[in-house]
């Protein structure tokens, strides 16, 4: 028995929820960032599943774009985190509140 669309979407939903909970609950910027990537992966999975079950390859094609953009985004984001750590010696979000009013 092969898994149906329902199963894929359930997995994607669970992944998204875990990522979202991580973003909301964790205090370490690096972990939050990883959780964001997890959410992105969840949506990518949903896209591939839809594409497969609709019988078109449009969604699969989009995945390549998403991966490319995500790679670029990760490189910039990690660079910011590294620069932040060098300057502040911390990446805990509780301490990164200089822009508040």
């Amino acid at each position: 028995m092969t898994p149906g669309l329902q199963a894929y979407l359930t997995v994607a939903g669970i992944l998204f929820a875990i990522g979202f909970a991580g973003v909301l609950l964790r205090r370490n910027t690096l972990v939050i960032y990883m959780c964001l990537e997890l959410m992105l992966s969840a949506t990518t999975l949903a896209l591939v599943a839809f594409s497969r079950f609709n019988g078109t390859m449009d969604g699969a094609l989009f995945v390549f774009f998403i991966i490319t953009v995500a790679a670029a985004e990760v490189s910039v984001g990690l660079a910011i985190i590294v620069a932040l750590y060098r300057r502040r010696h911390t990446i805990q979000v509780d301490h990164l509140n200089y822009l508040k009013f």
Binding site: V23, L24, I32, V93, D94, L96, N97, L99, K100, F101
Partner: protein, 639 residues
Amino acid sequence: MDLTTVLATILLLPLASAGFITLCLRRRGYAAAAVSVVVGFVLMALALVAVLNWNGQPLHRSWEWIRFGNFAYTMGFYFDHQAALMLLVVTFVAGWIQLFSVGYMDDDPAKGRFFGGLSIFMFSILGITLADNLIMLFVFWELVGFSSYMLIAHYYTTDFANMASKKAFIVNRIGDFGFILGIVWCYHYYGTVDLEALRNLTHLNAPLLQTSAAVGIGLLLMCGFIGKSAQFPLQVWLTDAMAGPTPVSALIHAATMVAAGIYFLARVYFLLPPFTLHWIMWSGALMTAFAGLCALGQTDIKKSLAYSTLSHLGYMATAVGLGYPELALFHMAMHACFKATLFLGAGSVIHSCHHEQDIYKMGGLFRRMPITGLTFGAASLAIAAIPFFSGSYSKDTIITAAFLKGMNEGPQYYLVYVLVLFAALCTALYMGRLFCVAFLGQPRSEHAAHAHESSAFMTIPLAVLGFLSVVAGWVVYHWDWAQGRMNWVMPSAATEVFVPTYHAVETLAAQAGVGHALDLVAIALAVAGLVGAGIFYGRARAGDPLQARAPGVFQVLERHGWFDDLYDWYVAKVQQCACEMAAIGDLLIVKFVFVQGTAAITGLTGALLKRVHVGSLHAYVYWFLGGVLLFWAFALGWF
């Protein structure tokens, strides 16, 4: 050289002279004076050449300067008989006044500025003389205002001169505001501002002038005349403008600048409907009598002469209002001769009395300054219209014209006749007073006792202008010479303007059988005035006899009916009040609502929005989530 070239040279030469003096000769006063005087006499010669070689046909040349859409703004010349007369009067009188200034200003450190100012003034007034359209005329009109401002404020270290120049400038602006509105309306209504085109238009289509728009245009154009020629209610600047050097008073405020207003009225006479003419006539007649009386209340020799100028401008305005602009120009030309002589004579007296202007500190000057005294006396007789002096020809004709109007068109016009006749009596009185007090009797001060005749720079112009103020009126007898090109002392082309009208009025008076009677009445009044002044003022010692006997009357005359005080009160109280109300409105609406109101709304929004910046990354995620939910709800159509 053809006429256009000569006219262009006449117009541009004083500008070049002014520029040269201002740029190169500011520190070299005598060189500046020499340039200015030489240019003045070259202009005089060129004007004479231009008028003598003129074929008598009106010359109209114009060049496009700026184009706005389908409106082309042109600069050009319109040279007709009126322009010829004005050109001669202006260049002639101004030339001699400039020569006089060399003597009068010999101890002044700022000769460069003064003579540069005289040159730019010449440029402006010649521009008015030759202008072929109302806009060009207005441009030069404003230049005259600027030059007079500069010249009146020559002694800029004194408060009085500064205030007088500002007053002259501001009062003229009031009139000129009406003037430019009139020009705009004129273009809107008639479709042109060209003088020749306007003349043709109104001649071909007389009903054009019978609408209320034409009356409005006439009244607005008259505003310019009222300001420049110091007529009621803007007469207040002229007497204060005496703060400038005396040659400036002679040039601007007696001979040429105020005459520009009269010239302008004669130029646009065909645009003036009867209602406007009535206004001009009545205000002129009242002004001539009132200013004539006020001249009796002045102890400053220049101020007394300034009121006399006001009075004679009133005569000219009356003549225009009566329908004889030619007579106004006639009187303008005669007045330029004798009033320039009087002012220059006053300047000569002031100069040798060490800038003493109070006539009750002079006295006995006739023996010490015979040439000045003689010319001043001759000009006094001329202005008082003693027979065969120049003033009698123009002034008595205006009086006759006023009487004829009363006889032909209704008894109310006899009042105009009475007013101008009364002014003639006043003229004789105040001129007799000035002459008796300043030139006869005993010296009343050290300076007067040690006065001596002025230098040749001052006496030669006095002699020339004094001679003319005696004989200039004889042009009416047509003493032609030089193959008819010259009529006695003036080119025939210039006398063409007024001599036929003079004879027409005289003939009308003779046909009505009143010519001799009117002349006799006027002469009797003039002589009575002179004799009365001699008796009343001849024995004056330290103060004015009128002041001693009727101090109340004297004060009214001295303050010229409190016009200045009335305007002071109006500006300080009424206008200031209105300004303060406007300031409050500005404060409430512009400042509080528009400026501070928008700032407050923006600031309040900012103050509220800055509260969401709590500094916690997780809070921002919740804001984001909230925003997404909001969009979701919106997309679902929940609200």
